[in-house]
């Protein structure tokens, strides 16, 4: 037996080497092809994406100014030390956190609810689907202009509705406590369609047999949703929530036009703060430190979120 084994292994040894030489030549040719084909995409990416990323991180350690004749000098962690004491920045950070958590959560709830409705045999589903596309397609600047009209304190339809019910006339975007909730609603409006369509696609992949089996076993609609639909949708939900959170934390256009961060900085999101610091105050080194902090924060939040859900998934 051992002899036979040996003989066999000897016989098979030369064969793979010949093949692997042939394969490695093929692999080399394939790699060269791949490089040639990828170059057109690689050049702009390296110049305008990878290099800026590296510069962006390093700018934070300099005293770079927007308008300056001399090259920026290295200042170590000076910017970060000063940033720690910058209450206004952390205030903006907090507003950013409230905004992105609220918008992301509401997008999830409303998006999922609408997706569930669209996944039934109700009428007007087609119209709703088509209408749902509009907020998604619209330029953020137009979205903001449109909602300014809705919220208009003088002849906006929202105030008309409230006053006709006997309520007070409200200056939605100018009120210190109402401005943030008001812009959060706009954020939900703008991002909900994308959530809805993704969840709808996810729902259509939930195995019908599984739902049917649960129904035969006597599970009610709610129980079927919690025990069959939700677990099946989980990967979709996790991806959409993660992406939405990042996008929302970095939103800029809608708020810039809607309130410009006002009133009194009540809707000043981190990105608006960075924009002002860099392009109004000209402190680009400090602004870069802010973006670094934002990115590190997002990476930490995201890893914690993904890790937690991943662990849960493994346990289950």
């Amino acid at each position: 037996m051992p002899l036979e084994l040996k003989a066999r292994s000897e016989a098979t040894v030369p064969k793979p080497t010949a093949r692997s030489r042939k394969q490695s030549a093929l692999a080399r040719r394939q790699r060269n092809e791949a490089v040639v084909l990828a170059v057109p995409a690689l050049i702009p990416v390296i110049i305008l994406s990878v290099v800026p990323l590296l510069i962006g991180v390093s700018l934070a350690f300099t005293d770079s100014q927007l308008i300056s004749e001399s090259a920026p000098g290295f200042v170590g962690v000076d910017n970060f030390a000063r940033l720690l004491r910058n209450g206004a920045f952390w205030n903006a950070f907090g507003i950013g956190a409230i905004w992105s958590v609220s918008v992301t959560a509401l997008q999830l709830v409303c998006g999922l609810a609408l997706a569930l409705l669209l996944n039934t045999d109700l009428r007007f589903r087609g119209v709703t689907r088509l209408l749902a596309i509009i907020p998604w397609a619209m330029p953020p600047v137009v979205v903001a202009i449109m909602w300014q009209m809705i919220y208009s304190p003088t002849n906006g339809p929202l105030n008309w509705f409230i006053t006709s019910l006997g309520g007070p006339r409200i200056n939605w975007l100018g009120d210190f406590s109402l401005a943030l909730p008001a812009v959060i609603l706009v954020g939900v409006w703008a991002g909900m369609p994308q959530n809805t369509i993704s969840y709808l696609a996810g729902l259509q992949q939930v195995p019908v047999e599984l739902l049917e089996a649960a129904r035969v076993d006597g599970a009610g609609a709610w129980s079927r949703f919690v025990h069959v639909t939700l677990p099946a949708l989980k990967p979709t939900i996790i991806s959409i929530v993660s992406l939405s959170f990042i996008w929302n934390f970095n939103s800029f256009g809608i708020i810039y036009v809607l309130t410009a961060g006002g009133p009194g900085g009540k809707t000043l999101l981190p990105m608006l703060f960075v924009y002002i610091e860099a392009f109004r105050n000209g402190n680009t080194g400090m602004a870069a430190a802010m973006t670094d902090v934002i990115v590190v924060f997002l990476v930490i939040v995201l890893s914690a979120f993904l890790l937690r859900n991943f662990r849960k998934g493994v346990q289950a």
Binding site: A34, L37, I134, A137, I145, G253
Partner: protein
């Protein structure tokens, strides 16, 4: 027991109507405002259907400072961006879909990272790099930024369509003696057309709607894109000349809305390919 389904059905329709109102009403209001006369806009009366519909606001918008110019800039920037992105995405997406190894791993990694890293981190260095080569305040600079900014998604979307083409088709071409270039241009490219159209529309809409980079990079009004131009008409505190602004905003949103309506059925696959796998 028989009443329960009816009750649920009714509730479902109530919620659906609520969502319809929430999603659709703002756009209806924009349309309505665009057709209202100044007198009606200045009054406190609130009507969804304009009492005396007028096209004056559209005339005013077309005559407004630089809005037509801005529209042209937006279309120019978006079309050039789309053409460049599609041309460089085809071979790139082919590599992502067909080859194994480091390039593919790095490419996919970069697509993923670019979806996660906020644009905030890019904007300052991009501004300095473009200023160094004299491309700040020029449409060329904006196009360069948009190409890189829309490329990851476009690559990801397109590689899904490439992966859907059976390898056998290509191998049949190769055994018939076609070179790699011939296989790509004569076999892969024609089969990719539906995917190319979808990718092109996504790229166009992304570039057309973009605001932040344009705001930072463009300084002279004659270079403004539509978004930047419209944003100057509306300051944080309120609206100047609401009628023409509504008309301008309505016209500005037409290309994206039409393109997305065309793509309606494909939005699902496109987004999921980018969002879920990415």
């Amino acid at each position: 027991m028989r009443n329960q389904p009816v009750l649920i059905r009714t509730l479902q329709y109530v919620f659906l109507a609520g969502f319809l109102l929430f999603l659709g009403f703002p756009f209806l209001w924009l349309i309505s405002t665009a057709f209202k006369s100044p007198a009606e806009l200045n009054s406190l009366a609130v009507n969804l259907v304009p009492l005396q519909p007028t096209l004056d606001n559209f005339t005013a918008a077309f005559e407004a400072q630089g809005l037509v110019r801005a529209a042209w800039n937006s279309v120019f920037v978006s079309v050039v961006t789309t053409v460049i992105v599609v041309i460089i995405s085809v071979p790139g997406a082919y590599v992502l879909a067909r080859y194994r190894g480091k390039i593919r791993a790095m490419g996919s990694g970069w697509v993923l990272v670019s979806q996660i890293v906020p644009v905030a981190l890019f904007i300052l260095p991009l501004f300095f790099i473009l200023r160094m080569v004299g491309l700040v305040d020029s449409l060329g600079g904006v196009i360069a930024v948009y190409v890189v900014y829309t490329l990851p998604f476009s690559l990801w979307m397109l590689q899904g369509y490439v992966a859907a083409i059976p390898v056998d088709v290509e191998e049949a071409g190769a055994t018939d003696g076609a070179t790699k270039l011939q296989v790509l241009t004569r076999i892969v490219f024609p089969l990719l057309q539906p995917g190319l159209i979808a990718t092109a529309i996504f790229t166009f809409v992304a570039a057309y709607n973009e605001f932040f980079f344009a705001l930072v990079l463009l300084q002279s009004p004659e270079n403004f894109t539509l978004s930047v131009s419209l944003s100057t008409f509306s300051n944080g505190e309120g609206l100047s000349e609401i009628g023409p602004l509504a008309a301008g905003a309505l016209i500005a949103s037409i290309p994206s809305v039409i393109f997305f309506a065309i793509l309606q059925r494909r939005l699902t696959g496109g987004l999921l390919a980018g969002a879920v796998k990415g």
